[in-house]
Structures are given as C-alpha cells and as structure tokens.
C-alpha cells in the first residue's frame, strides 16, 4: 500500500512532467496549427480558424519539395553511412591498439566539433570552389563528417573498450579469423552504441543548416535550406513554411521509431554492464 505522502509525491511528479510535456510539445503543436491556416489567419487566430489544406497543396504538389527531401536524405544518409564505414574501424583502433599520440588523435577528432560552423564555413567555401566540390553531394557528405564522425567514433570507442580483449582471444583460439570475429562477435556487441550514435548523427546532419546554405546552391538543395524559400523578400508565407518544417521532421521521427528498441537499450547499455 502506498502512503498518502508517496501518492502526493507521485501526483506532483506527474503534474510537473505534464507541464514540461506541454512546454516541450507546444511549439510543435503551434507549427502544426499554422500549417492548416491561411496566410490571412496566421496572425489573427489562435485555436479557432478555418482549416485549409492549401498550404500542403502548395508545398507538396506545386513546388520541388520532394526533391529537397530527397537531397536531404542523400546527404544525411550518405554522411552517416560514410561515418559508419570510416568510424567503426577508427573506434576499434583507438580502443584496442596502442600507438604514439593516440589520445591526442582521439581528442583532435573530437575537437572538430568545437568550432562553430559559421567560423569554418567561409574558408571551406573557398576550398570547395577550387576543388570543384561546391554544390555537390560528395562535398556535403564530406563536410557533414565534421558533425557525424566525432560523435560516432567516441561513442563506439567506448563500446569497444567495454568488450574484454579476452573475448577476441577466445574466438581466435576457437578457430575464427579476425574478420569473422569482428562481424560475428564484436559488431553484435557494439550494435546498441552504433545504432544510437548513427541516429543522432543522422538527426544532426539532417538539421544542419549553415553548411548546405553556404556550400550548396542549386544542384543540391537540402530541406533545411529549402524552407527559407518560403520566406520571400516581400511576403512571408508562414503557412507554407510550417508545412515544410512539419514534413521535414517526419523522416527523422520515422527513423527514430524504427530503431527505438535499440536506442533505449543503447543509451543505458554502457552504464549497467558491470
């Protein structure tokens, strides 16, 4: 039986959580509401208005929105894929091997995240112009490594360090080659960390704005940059803007829901493993 005090505490906790949920979700709700309002009603109504799908028609059917989403998927997905291919072996090496200046190297990788993007983007712009990487998929995927690679390497490295090296020895003695050990024994063990860091990296890459704004223009048009198109010089179509933002949040949410099982386990795995 719960005492009165415990129950009161429970109620208080739930009230606080509800307040926080409203606080956190309200902007999203507001965005959703605006997406159904016509431009004339945006500033004059709050909850009672004449819902319209005109904004959705305008954005989804009469503009290149699908292309923007596709570009975002290509660059963000590509960036995460490259990060996994490059980052997992790098994390393994940083966890297992001893070499000169190992910690400095690991720290340098992390330091790529220190500088504000706006600080490095102008020199990068000039370099990209010279190299011909400006406004290309490869160029954006490459620069997104600054966002996704450090995160992935540092998370996965911790997971590799948690695996005792004797497990690898035991598998060697059992007659497995290094590649078999890596894919059969180690990858399943780092999977939670890999999945959660890959998801976060995807979300960060998806939401990146500065890099695609400066380093891409007409050929590659990620959705974050595309949204600004609905803010015209003379008029701001807030309704269309809200539609574009709402729809652009969907892929990351779908992705997160698909791997939610791993995500929850992934974030707690390292802590409870004694």
């Amino acid at each position: 039986m719960k005492t009165g005090k415990q129950r009161a505490l429970n109620v208080l906790m739930n009230v606080l959580l509800i307040i926080y949920a409203i606080f956190a979700l309200f902007p999203l709700l507001w965005m959703l509401l605006i997406s159904f309002k016509s431009d004339t009603e945006v500033f004059t109504t709050t909850f009672i208005f004449h819902p319209t799908l005109a904004n959705y028609q305008q954005v989804l059917l009469r503009s290149d929105y699908a292309r923007y989403i596709r570009d975002s998927l290509i660059v963000s997905g590509g960036a995460v894929l490259v990060s996994i291919i490059v980052g997992v072996p790098a994390a393994y090496a940083l966890a297992r091997y001893n070499f000169a200046r190992k910690e400095e190297l690991a720290f340098q990788i992390l330091s790529y995240k220190f500088a504000p993007e706006i600080l490095v983007v102008l020199p990068l712009f000039m370099i990209y112009q010279k190299l011909g990487l400006y406004d290309s998929y490869i160029g954006l995927i490459w620069v997104y490594q600054l966002i996704s690679l450090p995160l992935l390497i540092w998370v996965v490295r911790g997971y590799f360090e948690d695996i005792s090296v004797e497990i690898e020895y035991a598998a060697q003695v059992d007659g497995y080659t290094w590649y078999q050990i890596f894919f059969k024994m180690l990858v399943p063990l780092i999977k939670p960390g890999l999945v959660s860091s890959a998801l976060l990296a995807f979300i960060f890459a998806w939401n990146s704005f500065t890099f695609p704004l400066i380093l891409a223009s007409s050929k590659v048009y990620p959705v974050t940059v595309a949204i600004t198109k609905y803010l015209g010089t003379d008029s701001a179509h807030y309704g269309q803007l809200a539609v574009a933002a709402t729809v652009s949040a969907i892929p990351a949410m779908v992705f997160a829901l698909c791997i939610q099982k791993h995500l929850v386990r992934g974030l707690s795995f390292g802590a409870v493993k004694g």
């Binding site: 005792s164 497990i167 020895y169 035991a170 060697q172 003695v173 059992d174 007659g175 078999q180 063990l189």
Partner: protein
C-alpha cells in the same frame, strides 16, 4: 595430443620482464601444472603457447614443430580464460559450440550436440544450456568456459585457474572429474593455479614460477618434500612451513642447533642422520635455516622435557583443525592443533620441534641443502616422467 616444448622464452611488457628465459618440456598426455604467486607470469606462458602473445625471444614447438609464427586459430589449442571470456550475445549452448562451428574445426550439429551434452553432464549444467552468460553466476560462467574447451579435441588444453570461482564442493568434484577426464581423453593439459592443493592433486608435474623464471620443476611430492629453496617451501603447504634460523654447534660425535627464542638461546641436539651430518661436515656449516612443517611441531601447556617455553600469539580454526601461532621474537611458529582447545592469547605454551623431519636451507642463498631421510624420500618422490 602433443608434446609442448618451450625454449628460453622471453617477453617484456614495457619495463616489466614478464617472462625471463622460460624453458619447459611438457610431455605428451601430461597434466602439467604451473604454480606460483600472482604476477609470476603464469598466464603469459599460456598466452604464448596459445599464440595470443608473441614472445620476443625463444621458440615454442608442438611435437617438435616450431609454432612461433602460427596464428592462434591454427594452433588447435583449447583455452579456458581466467575471466571466462564468454560471448555475451550467445547462449551457453552456442558458446560451447563456437569452436566446433568455425571453419577450421567444423563438426556436424549432431556431433556437437552429443559432445556438449556430455560436457554439460560432467559439469552439472544441463539446465543452463539455453541461458545467456549474463544470467549466470560466476561459478556457472566458469563451468561454461571449461565446457567450451572440453568439447574440443585439441593439441593441448590450456587452463587458467579454471576452478578458482567454484564453491568448495563443486571444486573438489570437478578436480576429480578433470583428472579422470584428462586420463581418458589422453591429452596434454597445462593448468595454471595458485592453489597448492589443486597443484598437488592434479599435476603429474608442477613447475613453480616466480618473477618470470622457473624456480623448480618436479612431481608434487618432490616439490613438497624437497623444495629447492625457501620460496618454494613456503608456497607449498598451508599453513606455510616454519623457517627457523639456527646455528650449528658440535656436540659429542654429532651436532646440535642453537636458536634464539624470545631473546634467549635454546639448544637442541640434532638427531643422527648420515646424510645431514655428512652435509654439515662437508660444507662446514655454521648457520642454517631449519624448515619445519606445522604438523611436525609438538606443543604442551605444561613444562616437559625437551620443550621450550614461549607464548601464544593466535589460535584460529581452519575448518577441521586449528592453527596455533607462537611468538618467538624474530619469527613466529605455526603448528597444527585440534579444534576446540581452550587456548588464551599470550598464555604460555611449550614447544618441541621434530628436527628429524626438518629441511635444511642455506640462510644466505635460501637454497635447499639437505633434509632428513633424503634417500628414502627421493625414492618415492622423484619419478622420472616418460
């Protein structure tokens, strides 16, 4: 099923010389025990044989074939790791089947099942086969680690303290099973332990390792009765052997030993023994360390002839018997006593040493000199291993 030969193996980790010229010749089908204190290099020797660690110098050969450059997978060794090293994502059954499912040592699933069932029966873990390692206790994990090795038919079994985490009862039964299994399988087994009972019970031969060097190799009896130095003598036996510094004096036709007990001199005639007296004469010994096992010290609570007086330092039970420790100033004497005695700390106790069972060590080099009844002991303890 191989003869394992190590020649002058050296290995350093940074500035620490883990192995300093280890040479071993382990015969086919031998149960060979590596015994020594923590950090002696026992596990490193196993790792070198398994191929996990590369020695910097020296050769490792199986049946005369040099294996230094062969990777662990192709050496066909089965190893039990001290920290179990189970694969966390696999069930107990899959863990045990792991080697038999690899490309190199592949067997039919039916054969695998049969072998695993047999190993599981032997280790009393039939009911655990579907569990994951995280659902097992340490003792159970250790048995799985053993099982993973026992299902194979390797050149050599390498076992790193495989029974250390089992409860006493299971350890005893596993010890017996292991010895029998090894005899039946007819395979070489190298076994690391720091439990001298295990070493004595299991080993055809025992190698004492200390600080990366081999101190002594021999049968359990040989090492117990004729330890090559004080270190080995102290390692073998629980409670450990008493080492008493003494001076030799001439007494009639024989000799006597004079010891200091709590500041006063105590003289004992040395019992007559041709070997011992010859050694004393030949080496002109003045000082010796007398090694006497705790079961060879007699005690009384009233003055008696040939007993010297000292005080009780502690009295503690170690199960079916107890140990009395007596204070003698510069050293303490441990002796075996029955349980349930009414002994007060600091009370008087009278002690007699059974000098005719003692081992003589050189006090400077700490090396074995001789012992009483050396010839008789040699005849039963020292066996030539084929």
């Amino acid at each position: 099923m191989a003869r394992i030969t190590l020649e002058n193996i050296r290995k350093a980790f940074g500035k620490v010389q883990a192995l300093d010229g280890i040479s071993l010749d382990i015969k086919d089908n031998e149960f060979f025990v590596l015994f020594g204190p923590a950090g002696a290099g026992k596990t490193t020797i196993l790792n070198c044989i398994a191929g996990i660690t590369m020695p910097e110098e020296g050769t490792i050969s199986f049946n005369g074939e040099i294996m230094n450059l062969i990777d662990p997978a192709h050496r066909n060794v089965a190893m039990v790791f001290e920290n179990y090293a189970l694969f966390p994502q696999m069930t107990v059954y899959d863990n045990m089947a792991s080697a038999l499912r690899s490309k190199l040592y592949r067997e039919d699933e039916a054969v695998i099942k049969e072998r695993i069932d047999k190993a599981a029966r032997m280790m009393k873990m039939e009911k655990l086969l579907e569990r994951l390692p995280s659902q097992l206790s340490n003792g159970q994990k250790q048995r799985v680690a053993m099982g993973r090795a026992l299902v194979r038919t390797p050149n050599v079994f390498l076992m790193d303290e495989p029974l250390a985490h089992l409860d006493a009862k299971l350890r005893n039964s596993m010890r017996t099973e292991l010895k029998e299994m090894q005899a039946n399988l007819g395979s070489t087994c190298i076994y690391v332990t720091h439990d001298f009972m295990e070493a004595m019970a299991l080993g055809d031969r025992i190698a004492i390792i200390n600080k990366g060097k081999i101190v002594q190799i021999g049968s359990g009896d040989e090492i117990y009765y004729m330890p090559c130095n004080e270190f080995t003598a102290e390692l073998m036996g629980d409670p450990q052997i008493n080492i008493i510094p003494a001076e030799i004096y001439k007494s009639g036709s024989g000799y006597g030993a004079e010891m200091i007990v709590n500041g006063s001199k105590v003289r004992h005639e040395l019992p007559e023994d041709k070997g011992v007296f010859a050694k004393i004469q030949e080496r002109g010994l003045v000082k010796v360390d007398l090694g006497i096992r705790p079961q060879h010290i007699k005690y009384a609570f009233a003055p008696a002839d040939g007993y010297f007086k000292t005080t009780v330092y502690s009295y503690e039970s170690i199960g079916n018997k107890s140990v009395i420790t007596a204070e003698c100033g510069a050293y303490q004497l441990r002796m075996i006593a029955p349980n349930g005695l009414n002994v007060d700390i600091d009370s008087d106790i009278y002690i007699k040493l059974e000098l005719d069972r003692s081992i003589l060590f050189d006090p400077d080099s700490k090396k074995y000199l001789t012992r009483y009844d050396e010839e008789a002991i040699k005849s039963f303890a020292v066996k030539e291993v084929q």
